[in-house]
Amino acid sequence: MEFWREHRTAIMTVIVVAALLGLARLGMSANDWVVTILRGLSVGAVIFLVAAGFSIILGLMDVLNLAHGALFMLGAYMTWSVYVRPDTIVDLLTPGLLLAAGFALMPVWRQAAARTPARGRRIWPVLALAAAALILVRVGPRLPISIWDPKVYQNSPIVWTQNAQTGMLASLIRPAVAEGGLPIWLTWLAVLAAGVLAALATAGLGRRSGLVRTTGRAALRSLLLFALLIGLAALFFAFNDPLTNVWIALNSNWRFLIAVVLATLAGALLGGLMEATLVRPLYERPIYQIMLTFGLAFIGTEIVRAVWGRTGLTMPRPALFDGTGEGCPATGLGEWWRNHCATILVTIGGEEARIRTYNELFLIVVGLIVLVSVWLLLQRSRLGMIIRAGVQDGEMVEALGINVRRVFTLVFALGVGLAALGGALAAPSMGLSDAMGATLLLGALIALAIGGLTSFAGAAVGSVLVGLLQQFMIKFGALGIKLPFLAEPFKPSPSLVPASTVLLMVLVLLILPQGLFGRKE
């Protein structure tokens, strides 16, 4: 009885979902039914990756991160770039490391910023920032970076996708050449100066109250890091071409793995930076966070449009999930592993079901792995304990002497990293477009509202429900539902697919205002 009371909603949910799935089974054949469920789970997995990060951020910091969809999208586009154009990424390493070198000296800059007289302190950081931006705008186009150009068809992302698909990348990539009359070392020096100026500006803008004291050891450490980054930058510049060649010669599976990892890390870094610089000053003004994150979503979408173009892109699947030749479609997992098939044919109820290995197996497995690992992180680690405690009562955690601010940055990085991972994994299955972020964010919001806004289990259950409902509506849109009181089968039009999830949300919220697994206030 105790068990029943505690898990009432969970049990009811399982019963209702099972009943609905059983009902849906009446309307379609067994193979369609299985494939639709798998598709629903796969869409649910992607939604879950976005929703989980969103819900942890909302729970811990009360920040409604409307830029989460845009960051998901950026993750997808970054994956595309690393996967299709490794040469560009290698070219970007040198300037990126030089910019980072400027920020490595942050303790020194903070000390310097604290020593400047109070008068006029507010104007020089802005000037420094403007100078850094000016340098980057002037020098940027002259850097030796080979990049695609959405405005020139021969060099557009679409053509490069095709090249990657046909395996012609290695023969088409040319080493980048620096443009303009500047000697190359001067260009790099300018980039380094921009990094230093930007770091100085950041130090000046983030005025700390009280004294800032940098110990000699910290200064020394930052100097060492500075030297290390510059050395790395020089190294990457010197061995640019060999590195590019090695990378491109890699198997596409490895390239995909690298792309996913890099995009996730870049997303996490971006999230951490976002929290530290932009979100942090706004904890006292919650409603303005909405404006900020919305503005950032705007900017993210525009960046995507400017860099990758307005036309949607596709991303080729890695070879492991792309085989169509001999022995394909496979009849089982073993055969898939041997032949790298794109699909597996399974006979269910006397009819064949075609299961796509990437979409319907790999995504679900990765979703499960992330689910379990984030759950372990939340339940079994010290950080997770702090996060859970912070969700319940942030002030109390702070009172216990824990630096919640640092945890905030970490959690923001984690959440955005998860969204970027979702984007990275969704790129080959859903394709890339400048609207994918907004669409998925809405899906994630609905999933969270259904599951309970700040509940991790709720995020998982809600995402799966939204994914299943969407896919069943799409399937029924093609098949039609035979209703007893209608002569013609009822076919839900495509616009009813989002409407169905929204209606489910409204229904759940009106019955259970906290969502299925939400905490009662």
């Binding site: 409603i287 303005y288 919305f294 525009e302 409407a499 929204v502």
Partner: protein, 359 residues
């Protein structure tokens, strides 16, 4: 010893005494006068006569009137959102529906049903009340962020209905509602100056009404609900009633704004049903200052004019710049234009006086 004969500690300058209404409203009055004069001034600058402007000759003045009409309508719409969010503290993500219901009701009644304009106005107001009641039913069950999500859901369903092909005969679906027969005396092309002044007058009246409402006992209860709903309830107020009142007022205002939108624009675009349009209202009141009412009007002006001129000057890059400007506004104008002014103006003035006094 009376107060007036006490030795002056403030300043040696003679105090200019102005009536209190002047001190409260001088900026608004000047703005209003400027807006009344603007069509004629623009016309005269261009070389047209007052008669030309009155006869609605095409030109810069007429164009600016159109742009300002859009600003006023956005202002009305944002004002209603400010009443819900800024004054009463209800976060609704379905506000676009309030506006769109007005626009589509007008369009469908005038076009498909062929109703006369006067009856349509009444129907629009009734529709505004009805949708406020619908949101009120939701409000009985949920509050806080859940209310935001349910209203988002309701608005999305409305958006999907508007865009669905099944009702395309009435709503125009994705294309938008076109060919609405406009009443002759409000024709946006032939009688634009009249439309301009009518909408300006409506905006001013609604603004004054809102100010009066916020300063009235029910309005004060709404503010109390924003600050601490539990405490307001403890004091014996039926908070639901006041929230519903705010919703009804906002619903009517937004529906009327939508009605004028349908009359002014050649086409009612389905975009006004979307979440983006709600976010527009949110951005406007955040730019102007939440809960300040006048901030909604000023924010609408900044929002629309910025949007228009950035698009005109920078073309493709406009959206990027707009995003950057929003982020900059959040950081540098922390409480919106009016809000920041109200909080800081005393300190600024004091600093200004101190500085000019020294030199």
């Amino acid at each position: 010893m009376t107060a007036s004969t006490r030795p002056g500690t403030r300043s040696a300058r003679p105090q200019v005494t102005r009536p209190s209404w002047w001190r409260a409203y001088w900026a608004m009055l000047l703005l209003l006068l400027a807006l009344i004069a603007l069509p004629f001034v623009l016309g005269l600058l261009e070389g047209a006569t007052v008669g030309d402007v009155l006869a609605n000759e095409a030109g810069r003045s007429k164009f600016m009137q159109g742009l300002l009409i859009e600003v006023f309508l956005l202002g009305l719409y944002a004002l209603s959102y400010d009443l819900i969010l800024g004054v009463t503290g209800l976060l609704s993500f379905g506000h676009a529906m309030f506006f769109a219901v007005g626009a589509y009701t007008t369009g469908i009644l005038l076009k498909s049903a062929g109703w006369p304009f006067g009856v349509t106005v009444v129907a629009v107001i009734v529709a505004g009340v009805l949708q406020a009641l619908l949101f009120g039913v939701v409000l009985l069950r949920v509050s806080g962020i859940t209310f935001a999500l349910v209203t988002l859901g309701l608005a999305s369903v409305f958006e999907i209905l508007i865009k669905s092909r099944e009702f395309a005969d009435f709503t125009g679906a994705d294309v938008g509602l076109q060919g609405i027969p406009k009443p002759d005396f409000l024709n946006p092309s032939a009688e634009r100056l009249r439309l301009y002044f009518i909408i300006l007058a409506v905006t001013v009246l609604v603004y004054l009404f809102y100010r009066r409402f916020v300063n009235s006992p029910p309005g004060r209860v709404c503010i109390a609900i924003r600050e601490n709903e539990d405490r307001a309830r403890m004091l014996g107020y039926n908070t639901f009633r006041f929230k519903l009142l705010a919703l009804i007022i906002a619903g009517i205002t937004a529906a009327v704004a939508g009605m004028f939108y349908a009359i002014y624009n050649p086409i009612v675009s389905p975009e006004v049903t979307g979440l983006g349009y709600t976010v527009d209202a949110l951005l406007i009141i955040l730019i102007g200052g939440m809960g300040t009412l006048s901030g909604a009007l000023i924010g609408a002006g900044v929002f629309r004019l910025l949007d228009f001129y950035l698009l005109k000057w920078f073309g493709e890059n406009a959206a990027f710049l707009l995003g950057a400007i929003y982020v900059a506004l959040v950081i540098f104008v922390p409480y919106g234009i009016v809000g920041t002014w109200q909080r800081r103006s005393v300190a600024w003035r004091r600093a200004w006086r101190a500085r000019s006094g020294k030199q």
